[in-house]
Symmetry: none
Subunit: 216 residues, 4 copies
Amino acid sequence: MAQAVTQRKRRAKPRWQRRKDERPAELLAAALEVFVEKGFAATKLADVARRAGVTKGTVYLYFDSKEALFKAVVRETIVPVIAQGEALARAFTGSARELVERLVREYWRLVGETALAGIPKLMMAEAATFPELTRFYYDEVVTRGHRLMAGVIERGIKNGEFRPVDVMVAAKLAMSPLIHATVARRAFASCMPETFNVQQYLDTHIDLYLHGITTQ
Amino acid sequence: MAQAVTQRKRRAKPRWQRRKDERPAELLAAALEVFVEKGFAATKLADVARRAGVTKGTVYLYFDSKEALFKAVVRETIVPVIAQGEALARAFTGSARELVERLVREYWRLVGETALAGIPKLMMAEAATFPELTRFYYDEVVTRGHRLMAGVIERGIKNGEFRPVDVMVAAKLAMSPLIHATVARRAFASCMPETFNVQQYLDTHIDLYLHGITTQ
Amino acid sequence: MAQAVTQRKRRAKPRWQRRKDERPAELLAAALEVFVEKGFAATKLADVARRAGVTKGTVYLYFDSKEALFKAVVRETIVPVIAQGEALARAFTGSARELVERLVREYWRLVGETALAGIPKLMMAEAATFPELTRFYYDEVVTRGHRLMAGVIERGIKNGEFRPVDVMVAAKLAMSPLIHATVARRAFASCMPETFNVQQYLDTHIDLYLHGITTQ
Amino acid sequence: MAQAVTQRKRRAKPRWQRRKDERPAELLAAALEVFVEKGFAATKLADVARRAGVTKGTVYLYFDSKEALFKAVVRETIVPVIAQGEALARAFTGSARELVERLVREYWRLVGETALAGIPKLMMAEAATFPELTRFYYDEVVTRGHRLMAGVIERGIKNGEFRPVDVMVAAKLAMSPLIHATVARRAFASCMPETFNVQQYLDTHIDLYLHGITTQ
DNA sequence: TATGAATGAGACTTCATTCAT
DNA sequence: AATGAATGAAGTCTCATTCAT
């Protein structure tokens, strides 16, 4: 009998659980989704909380304010991707052409078609509201990304694969169709015909771009 | 009698200027600025009103709601530009190469470096909030713009200037660096080095793009 | 018929009225009552608003914040009383004894038994929360009040009515039973027996105090 | 087996100290400090807990609620002082004059300059919030204190030391400068000049008061 | 036509209280 | 016995919208 009670107690589903360690990541993931969908100002913390499976108050155990949550979303989710790209470039042994193609496809695989795609959209929309965060993002993501690609292009110019061009400008032109597609795909998701084919878009970009930059 | 009325009108010193005709355009211009700067949710109608030189209440004499104002900003400011582009293409007599270049530069002149640059940014940011407006924008601006460029590319393929490619995809690739630059320039205005040179960006885009799509 | 409509329109009681000029004073009066009753932290602005016959939002048209409202309550209601006391003393031509008695009774008439009685209570309770306001109150009310009374006592000493004592200390001792009664009466209103007689308290204080300070 | 248990106990380093007996007093002391400093509504139980060296949850092991804690602070800290005063009076063998002076000085020694000084302040500030507690305090502290002093004065009248006066009123007048000083000293601590001399205030009060009440 | 005072719904944030650990 | 993560009610403050003037 005592045992029965014990068992019932043990089995009884607790109303909530302590998850001190997992909560921040769960909250960040939920916040990313909602911020991307609604924008910063229109996001209600109650929605973020609900999506993370907690209540409003809990958010404040882990983040000081809505603004702090927003900043954490950007700061903590995007930088690792850049690092991955840099590591990829360092380890790569093939031609510059191949590396450009590889980086483009990786960007899409890691950002364009994942939840991270929301980050560029957020920054475009909210940059003016968070100047400090924007500076961080511009330095640690935008510029660093461009430099990564510029390095590859420079290698290609040096070894004769590519025509001589301003490498930073060329890097921006390699990335901008990707970033635009990332942002626009989310914005116009409901409008796009089923026939729109991202892979074809990527393939054609790579084709035209490499065709355009290659010697001869 | 008519004279009496006239006299009364003339005598009465109006407390406010009647500007029934000019007001809407002034309000739309002010609203565009503020919406672009702050986003829809963070925009205060009082700010819009102040920038237009009137007070809150006046906005409601011309627009039913903040949402209606926002929709009007988008609907009434962007469509004319597309029409201009289409007219340009119809009238153009040179090569497809030249027309592509011309359209790119015109986009920048008419949108990229004017107040209209805010519209694409707004749509990226607020698309999810206004599905109906987004559908309108996608059909009447995005798709129509792409079709315009696609027609030019098709012409180039047919007359042997360009390699055979999917014309809608190629059109998107011709435009996306422009649109991305339009949006990003606003977002990162405060971060960009003085050395960033838009003309060089446009020149290089045209150069690489045409180089990439041209036969041979 | 048209006239009937007009009349009905004119008669119809408006849902609210514009009272730009009267509102601040009405709000301050309502706020004083509620702050005194509940204390600063436990006061809800909605209560203040309701008591002033408006809604929450209206309070913010006239005061920046709850804190600003609190400070205004103190700053704008108490100083005039001190000035009145000072004027009284200046104009008085009788003996020091008579003036002490007169000031004591005036304090009670103007503060002790009016809504202003709440101010000393508020300051005792909230001093630690508003250091700057407390400094203001201490300088402009407490000290100024003490100096006023000290001046009278000094006059009494000089003309031989009173024994030589430290005039500031004696002034404080003339006032403290008044202020304490002011504060305690509110706090213990519901506990005090009907038999408690403020006039007797004042009479006895004046009697004992003057008896104590008078020569011989 | 018993040994095994012992060993396990000895080895296990207890995460918390068991202090079932000391805790309540520690919590009451901490609570008194914070309640006095901030007022009831603005006091956070987390602050009280921290000052007592425990955490929020622990408070609830000893007190049912914030309100219960507040009431306990008042009920359990002040009554003993009254009892001390009563004992002092009973045991006193000197003149009424001397006893009045002695009680005044004892009040200051035991309340005015100790942590207990906060209690009167608290009651002034929070009386309206806790009617039942206020009734208790009024009966068991205020009235009892007044009766104590009134008894002494009555003794003085009977044996011819004092003039015939209403003894309860006179008792209140003996105490009110003390209580006011107790409360005001805390409130205006930061404003008071270093030159303010409590002893002189007490001395003068005793001097004037006894001078005023003494026969001839 | 224009104003801006007034409204009131709604969001962020705090914190007393509970309860899983 | 003690902790502190989680809850959720409640309050401050904002701002789109209305309406008396």
